[in-house]
């Protein structure tokens, strides 16, 4: 195991986060706070409770998950895309590091950033909304598992992308709509039956549902299914990365 290699990549990526604090941390925190203010405090006060939970508190897990997904993908995809773009990837490719170590460095850093961000958002939410966490261990576990899984997904996007536009396409065109339609602002039980069935094909439903269960003990689908689906997606991402390094796809000619 090239411990120093993993540490070098990890520290390099974390230092990038420190350099771009405004963009990496403040910007998503402010955006999410605006959701809390608008949908929580302003509109939320006129909405009824869902599953006996105040609306402003109900949307917190979904909003944290929205930021977590977007930031995990963005951090990891930029992390690996930038060396490709600037040409410094030659150094990683010529170094005595295995692909597992490369992934540990890049994905580990991206996931760490996302988890830190998620926790900051949760702490900030407390300023606007009164909420509780029923299962803190599971809340943290979901947070970490989701950050790692979507950082891996972001890593794949970063390898696949051959331009800045492609880096944005998946998060903006696919992940954001899936998150909005995945129960961030409502319970899928509130939808007509046909849309409930369609929603079950949306993987984000399982993430938000499981995360919300960790907060309030209520969920759209059983928490075991949520964990299973997240692990399944993690496995799919790991397989994708294994294939990328095995074939050298868009890395080695």
């Amino acid at each position: 195991m090239n411990f120093y290699g993993v540490k070098a990549i990890y520290n390099f990526e974390m230092s990038r986060m420190r350099r771009t604090l405004m963009q990496s941390v403040l910007s998503p925190v402010i955006s999410t706070c605006l959701y809390f203010v608008v949908f929580g405090s302003a509109i939320g006060s006129r909405m009824g409770n869902i599953d006996n939970i105040e609306y402003a508190a109900y949307i917190i897990p979904g909003l944290v998950m929205l930021s977590l997904l977007m930031q995990s993908i963005s951090n990891a995809s930029f992390g690996i895309y930038m060396p490709k773009f600037s040409g410094t990837i030659y150094e990683v490719l010529s170094a005595p590091v295995s692909y597992v170590e490369v992934v540990l460095g890049y994905v580990g850093a991206a996931a760490t950033k996302s988890v830190i961000l998620g926790l900051i958002i949760l702490a900030t939410a407390r300023l606007f909304v009164d909420y509780s966490v029923l299962h803190p261990f599971w809340m943290l576990s979901f947070l970490i598992l989701t950050a790692v899984t979507f950082s891996m997904f972001g890593f794949i996007i970063g390898i696949w992308a051959d331009g800045f536009e492609k880096l944005q396409i998946v998060p903006m065109m696919i992940v954001t709509p899936l998150t909005f339609l995945g129960g961030t602002f409502y319970s899928i039980d509130m939808l007509p039956e046909i849309w409930q069935t369609i929603s079950l094909f949306n993987p984000v439903v399982y993430l938000i549902s499981g995360f919300r269960w960790a907060f309030y003990g209520v969920s759209d689908v059983h928490v075991g299914i949520s964990v299973g689906m997240t692990l399944l997606f993690l496995l799919a991402c790991m397989s994708g990365i294994w294939w990328i390094f095995k074939t050298g796809y868009r890395l080695r000619t």
Binding site: N2, F3, Y4, G5, K7, A8, I9, N11, F12, S15, R16, R19, M82, P83, S86, G87, T88, Y90, E91, V92, L93, S94, A95, P96, V97, S98, G248, R252, T253
Partner: protein, 310 residues
Amino acid sequence: MQPDISVKNLNKVYEGGFQALKNINLDINRGEIFALLGPNGAGKTTMISIICGITNLSSGEVRAAGHDIVKDYRKARGSIGLVPQELNTDSFETVWNAVSFSRGLFGKAPNPAHIEKVLRDLSLWEKRNNRIMTLSGGMKRRLMIAKALSHEPRILFLDEPTAGVDVELRRDMWEMVRKLREDGVTIILTTHYIEEAEEMADRIGVIRQGEIILVEDKDQLMSKLGKKELRLHLQNKLDKVPGELILEPVELSEDGYELIYTFDSQQEQAGVARLLRTLGDIGIEYRDLRTRESSLEEIFVGLVHEQAAG
């Protein structure tokens, strides 16, 4: 002694079917400076990229410091430092962080004393806290070398290291390369400046259209393929080459005041003596004479053109 780089039957065929390397066999010895010459697109960078792990090989076997670059890639890559052709750097990082990153990436524990030595040797110490984007082109080139030396490699690849740098810096780099060789580092150099190879290399390899067409000790190459030229500045103008010299490789300059005699380096003694004797016999007087040896560049151009024609 086991070579530091051993390439056996190496082939590289790209996806589109283009064969960049054709059955390359090459050994590079420990502690030598090996210059790999070839025209653009000859396959120099492809070969270096394969040895360093950036490009996959299609077939064949490559060993670096005795380790197979595929099966034992950690040890093989750990022994290599690479200075690529392009100035690829992370503009926002500081010089110190960039060099430290490279050392860590290659699995070495932090060693600030070594990083300091490398930066001082390359005159980058004063710039250690500067962001890379603020460095000049020459300094960036030095930084690339510092990064490659950060993990104390025993083999160093320099892919056109002095491209675009000024004469003074080029001389500094040559000096640094010589010092590295004295420390036992094996150096593989590709360059378009033949003068650079002539100045530094112990052995020369010439690659053309993916094939190694020659590997030779530099001095032997110069002596074997090099030509010498003797120019005799005449007292009186001649209209044509005298009949007594018609069988000799002698030409007359356009103004008629110079006789130019070209000969192989190895045959100089007999030919020059015969020429001067003949001139004395037929009464042609000369005021001055000078000799000139062909450069490696002329040998290289001759070789490449010869192969192309053949």
